[in-house]
Symmetry: D2
Subunit: 290 residues, 4 copies
């Protein structure tokens, strides 16, 4: 938890000698005070290509640049190593649009974290296919949009959601037990920017009623999975997972209840890591820098 303003650089590139030296050399040369560095080299894939990933936090006032200046100055280094890269500024709050249905546990949890500034984000609006949670949301001073989704209006509904998120300049959309399957178009429009919480330990129990599936199979632990949404249902890159112990005496209703506790915790952890730029997507997997 750094109080001071800092820049976060995340980057990936083909692995070779000298990457860290070049990047840290660049910052050292400009007097940049690095607060945190995490690095990962992925072993070569079947084509023999090894990928390198990095995330740095640098004290803003230790550098002689503003954000644009930093980007311009860093570009030659990035180009040299053929990096996919991004620099963000801790002074600019991330904008998070939350989508909910009727269940309130993830929403209460996220708003408690937002209220206490544990999650230091802006929530430009909350979207739901039901009116149930309007009062609670509006009491917090957050605009609430009711976008009903029916078998007949899906195209329009998802277009409306897309429009609302675009207007809200959302950095990320969070499906906080939203219970609707987004259209492939919507998924394609916000790649790596839609986060879902699925109420099973994926890849077990994909799709509907995972707790019923878990009960049928007689597993001894149930779980939750926070992942990026892609057009393939519950197949996107996994960000975070956790499990909780159950036993033969637990009914499906008991599992639903226990499950809520891990759903909200796993979602919050995954979201936080995403917001802090700790999650780098690599194919259908993630690097999560602690």
């Amino acid at each position: 938890m750094h109080r001071e303003r800092f820049y976060t650089l995340t980057a990936s590139c083909p692995d070779r000698v000298g990457i860290v030296a070049a990047v840290s050399g660049f910052f050292a040369q400009h007097g940049g005070w690095i607060l945190e560095t995490t690095l990962h080299s992925e072993p070569p894939n079947d084509e023999g290509i090894a990928a390198y990933f990095m995330r740095l936090e640098i004290k803003a006032d230790s550098l002689p640049f503003d954000l644009d200046g930093l980007r311009a100055a860093f570009k030659p280094v990035a180009d040299e190593f053929n990096m996919t890269w991004k620099i963000s500024d801790s002074a600019k709050r991330k904008r998070v649009v939350i989508l909910v249905s009727k269940q309130e546990h993830c929403l209460y949890d996220l708003l408690a974290r937002w209220q206490s500034k544990e999650l230091d984000i802006d929530i430009p609006c909350i979207i739901s296919n039901h009116e149930t949670l309007r009062g609670f949301v509006e009491w917090h001073g957050i605009p609430f949009h009711h976008v009903p989704v029916t078998p007949d209006n899906k195209v329009q509904a998802y277009a409306r959601i897309s429009e609302l998120c675009t207007e809200a300049q959302a950095d990320v959309m969070v499906l906080a037990r939203y219970m609707q399957i987004l259209s492939p178009e919507l998924c394609a429009q916000f790649p790596g920017r839609i986060i879902n919480i699925h109420h099973s330990f994926l890849p077990s129990f994909v799709g509907a009623k995972p707790y019923h599936q878990a009960w049928e199979r007689g597993v001894k632990l149930i779980g939750a999975t926070c992942h990026y949404v892609t057009a393939d249902l519950d197949q996107g890159p996994i960000i975070e997972q956790d499990v909780i112990r159950i036993d033969h005496s637990d009914s499906v209703e008991d599992m639903v209840r226990y499950g809520k506790d891990i759903e909200k915790t796993v979602l919050a952890r995954g979201l936080r890591n995403h917001l802090e730029g700790r999650v780098l997507i690599h194919g259908n997997k993630t690097i999560v820098f602690r």
Copy 2:
């Protein structure tokens, strides 16, 4: 999760042959449908006395009694075995008074559970030594009492809290990160009816600033403990505990943040077990029937 009305019998007595036979025989004789039975025999203590504990749930409409009738009918069995016992009725909601300070995470969590009826309780009022959370509480339609506590007014403040809880006919008081040390008198007035969440894995790090203590010692896991409040600070019978992994890179602030997630979960689990009559106090320890 039984939908139907049921009675819950909890009892303890000296162990001897025939206890279960007598109790289950009593219910069988009256056609009572037992939904759940959990039993525990504690090994003999230093005086050679072994204690027996039990908890039964019986379908209300399978018995030819109302609550008072059941109590009267069961009394001879209880007397024969010298039982300490209690029968409660699922139709009568428990009354829970919550005490908070400024931190909101446990309160949001409890109110989400109450709102969704996951915790099927009445909350007659919420008491705080600060005004901070009044709006949130009152939006939920729950009376909020501000009872400031200063070094000078402690006697009056605790008298006022006692009065409010008595008026509210509270079954239990929950200290949801209340941050004040209750007076021995108040503790004595509600024995086994005040539940606290302490932000450490007791008996480690008793008292103030447990996360600072944990950071100083360099532990690799931090925890939270839900326990009954007694006159001895953080020494009461433990109901539930859990831990979460940390590492050298976590500051005290990080620990505070991670800790919140276990504090609220552990408190909710402990409270639920208490409300369902699953927690039997035995000396300074608890039997928690799952």
Copy 3:
């Protein structure tokens, strides 16, 4: 951990009023001191039939029966309630045949527990498709049988294993990372008596190379599952499971290494529960009485 000799009764039957009363009444009438009672009533299935399960430990010398006498005396009670039941005697050690391949971690673990009498069992022999572990086994004074399994000799090999287990009067066969798929005939011959440890959190990653599958999918926890072997690969009733956290920096080799620690622990816990008669099979699921 009871030092004294005791009988263990396990039983299941259709649920109805009076089961516990009849069983505990039977023991009370004969002065039987019940050390432990665990009960479970499974909610009605789709046909409306509710099943009841129980497990009791009764001090042997509190009863006026030997094992056969007890069985004879209890039979009328069992018949009245249409029970499937079994009574075993703690004085008679269970006979466990272990099957291994080349990997040693589960075998070292089981033999350490046997050596220290933590697992108070007889191991009449250990069977392997490789010679690798002969020396280690024989040093412990346990007969070692090498039964090679090739694509061509499977029928004879499994017949030989069956013969060895029958001669050894095995109560249970433990596949301690045996790595061979048993024939349906062998599975059918020892129903509910073959225990396997699978190196994934089932139902995820059935079959071969589960850690490779886990690595491909990018899960954040890996697990192990102890289950009864049936003719359907990795589909038998689950006894016990656990998981361990991994991250993006872990290779398949790292997962294999971490996995060993949960494999051996989960296998040992599952086996112990089986040996103590704590595991009751119900369809394709288990009741595990703690």
Copy 4:
């Protein structure tokens, strides 16, 4: 798990701009292929001094140096930043002396890991105050030394142990449930090189009979702690900890049994991290680079 030979550099120094640039620049300049880099900057202490920690793995054959050559070439960099540093060579196996008493679970576990080369170490000898485990040790081809410890011979006994370890050129001594309190002299002689497993979640339940203490207090989880041994009993820097859930039905004997499973796992994890140079001691705490 790198198959190729590599050097491991661990270093700590006062934090300032340019450390990573200098170190990674040094390796880049010589064509060094860095396999793994982990970094940690400890926030300023009360004196305002911030400490920096690092660990790098570099492919040996990517550098134009042997080990001594590398040390000589790196020295100027280390001096410039006032580093405490060390470079080790993966080709040189660490030498681990194990001390045991009568309990076998940690020893079986460590020897299984050694046997399978999961722990790629040399075990020059095993020392015990009892003869119990001689046969098991010697079957593995490892010399076994019986050094009895009595109230009267402690000085000589510890002198003998010190002598054996020195002769064995031990890099580290592992107390695998050794059950004897080492003398302050012995501790001082091998600072940061004696690893113990304590059977509680420290700082709870220091000293003798921790499971009895845990039972008395009625905790709901029990734990184990792997730490460096210092002259203060159970107060040394903690390397690794873990816990396991228990409940009211568990006796002290049950806790002892469950506890063994975490003791051996926590010890093995802590030892492995130490051997790989992942543990850096900082005051009475540790940095553990994953």
